[in-house]
Subunit: 195 residues, 2 copies
């Protein structure tokens, strides 16, 4: 979206690099953005930093009330979607029913918030769309692998339409990992988790 | 800090008002800020909205890297301090040892981040100081009531000095609830929780 050149470094989270431990000593988690030798951690903090540093093609809305709404929904999706999805993939012997219930509630709430808009951000993608990546890409792959029927056309037509628009958006299409790589990655983890 | 007039409405969280359910239907939690008839929820989102709407006496730093750092630490304190403190007061039969361990780790990390600065924000209070309110006011009252020795002069001299500066800052001094009211409120809840 910003057209900024960057170097992408993958981390093996089962064997964290000295670089990760140096630049995110508090959480020891990805992602970390390194800019001018200075580290920034936490996904939402990184997105706001990028938007403030490179101002063209804004990610957050212009008006303060719209910005607050976008931050509210970004925080909601981040806090509500990531933990149950992580449980699906990495937890052994977890309560899968509980995770399914939480995801269902999340999907209902954001289907309602999306309404008849093309994107959460309106006519173009914005903060909430980028965060909802976790629903549009992660969740879809995980439910296919596990044979779940969570996010379907019948139950969530608006979200399904949003996913179609989102994954075909130029800025996203060229940057998402190929589906077969995601399937390979998650099926290895899901296999290990179910042992 | 902003000198803005406001009306303060208390909520009984055991009997939530129609107003709260109307304006924060997703989380049904306080705080909610109502401005020009529009609701804003989530503490950190509200603070950023206030800072963007009334620009004098800024709460967030001016430069984008400093803003990212402030957001990082505000998020850390909010996520790390609030759940164990809530457990102390509202949970029955919780694992108190675990909550104490988490608070200790938090205190070590933020004592280190504070360093020799007067405030987390530098010479004046800012976003991180306002969020660390939960440590400087809540935690102090709760540890006194429970007879814990978590945040002491010996263990955390810099944080203790920060608390002194913070509670005596004009903008804070005039707006924090009186200590005897806090003690009364928490001791009623702690009594109920230990039954």
């Amino acid at each position: 979206m910003k057209g900024v050149k960057y170097e992408y470094i993958e981390e093996d989270l089962t064997n964290k690099s000295p670089l990760l431990l140096k630049y995110n000593p508090v959480h020891k988690k990805i992602p970390v953005l390194l800019h001018n030798g200075k580290p920034i951690s936490e996904s939402l903090v990184i997105i706001e930093y990028i938007d403030e540093t490179w101002k063209h093609n804004p990610i957050l809305p212009q008006h303060s009330y719209d910005r607050a709404r976008a931050r509210f929904w970004a925080k909601y999706i981040d806090e509500k979607a990531v933990p149950p999805l992580r449980d699906f993939v990495w937890s052994k012997g977890m309560d899968r029913e509980e995770a399914i219930g939480e995801i269902n509630e999340l999907l209902k709430t954001i289907e309602n918030e999306l309404g008849d808009k093309k994107f959460f951000g309106g006519e173009d993608i914005g903060l909430v769309d980028i965060v909802a990546n976790v629903v549009g890409i992660w969740l879809v792959v995980i439910q296919d692998l596990l044979g779940l029927e969570l996010l379907t056309e019948e139950k969530f037509p608006k979200l399904c339409n949003w996913i179609h628009e989102y994954v075909n958006h130029t800025a996203i299409k060229e940057n998402i990992p190929p589906r077969d790589k995601l399937i390979e990655f998650y099926s290895a983890h899901l296999g290990a988790a179910s042992q």
